[in-house]
Symmetry: C2
Subunit: 213 residues, 2 copies
């Protein structure tokens, strides 16, 4: 807990991608890699890779490069996926179910503990072994199970209210899929996935790519 230097959002956004590429190298039995080789694969500069990594420490060795498995594990630690994070899903529609069913999250330490919805017709319905619970139980559930993360896969009109409820009950972080900003206290971590905005960015590029290139 020495270094208090602020890591930029741009660096943090790139870390999971490094992690993914290193994971693929491990699967291909590659033991070591230089920043130059990795930069060619990932289409970023070698300089950026080295700068990014050296925000967190010196993981390589001059004349050798980086040990793939070691670097992979270290980035995993930096990302905090070397330990478990308890998570609930609020909103048992298709999107919520997609997340529950996506096994890879568990592999990264994100352990789903429960699934909630406010639709009585869904009560008790099973999603990958989880019985859908009603929203009036969510606060107690969060407290009893020390839930860290709530994924909100719910319509925007209820998102703020639900956000307030889960924060009150003690979640540290919200993974927000609702198409709205939540306006929660500063100490609550919010990661937004705004699909409609992603699609509009795509659309922008289509509309404006008639460039000479």
């Amino acid at each position: 807990m020495e270094e208090r230097k602020k890591i930029s959002a741009a660096v943090i956004r790139r870390l999971p991608r490094y992690y993914r590429y290193l994971g693929e190298l491990i699967e291909s039995d590659v033991q070591r890699i230089s920043s130059k080789e990795l930069s060619a694969k990932m289409k970023v500069t070698a300089s950026q890779i080295r700068q990014d990594l050296n925000n967190f420490g010196g993981f390589g060795q001059q004349g050798y490069g980086y040990n793939v498995k070691y670097l992979y594990d270290e980035i995993g630690k930096i990302l905090g996926i070397d330990r478990e994070h308890s998570m609930i899903i609020i909103g048992a529609g298709n999107l919520g179910q997609a997340i529950v069913n996506y096994a890879d999250f568990a592999k990264r330490g994100f352990v789903i503990k429960g699934v909630f919805d406010n639709n009585p017709a869904l009560e008790g319905k099973e999603v990958r072994g989880f019985k859908v619970q009603m929203m009036d139980q969510v606060a107690d559930f969060i407290k009893e199970n020390q839930i860290e993360i709530a994924a909100l896969t719910i319509p925007k009109k209820v998102a703020r209210e639900v956000g307030a409820v889960v924060v009150d009950a003690g979640v540290k972080a919200i993974w927000n899929f609702a198409h709205t900003d939540l306006n929660l206290p500063e100490d609550i971590i919010v990661e937004n996935v705004h699909l409609s905005e992603s699609l509009m960015q795509l659309s922008y590029t289509i509309a404006n790519r008639a460039e000479g290139k």
Copy 2:
């Protein structure tokens, strides 16, 4: 087609958010807004708002501010959502179904024309009125219906292959939900939604927020 000045990705990422806030203002019957007021709502600087907008033209009026409806429409045009974009969904799992069922995309001009999967068990299954079609029909379908965008909600191991097929058949853009990079020709537009990376960024912040703040 005069101005050839390159717009940065940071600006483009912000445009849909401006658009969303302006849409909410319209719903609240707000007619005009200054960059200062908007900056307070959105928690960005007024300077940034004016700079961003002036990349595309002068939409405001000194001493008055911006006409909300006018600015909303103009940003819509910039984003290319003033016209229709034909889209297909490849992968009829929960995530694919979630997208098909999300009506707001249609409201923004993204018109879904078909849903595809390679699982014979799903053939003919209806998702919001669309019969799931098999992958051997996708190339013809793209050509006949002039599909612009293919959303890939499929596992990463088949993503590249499917990406190549739809690009060959003529799509201009891919909305990629598979956890991999696609490595397509430069002129193909790819917008990635990597949910596991989003979750890792969240996890990073949890792990590293023990800051003084």
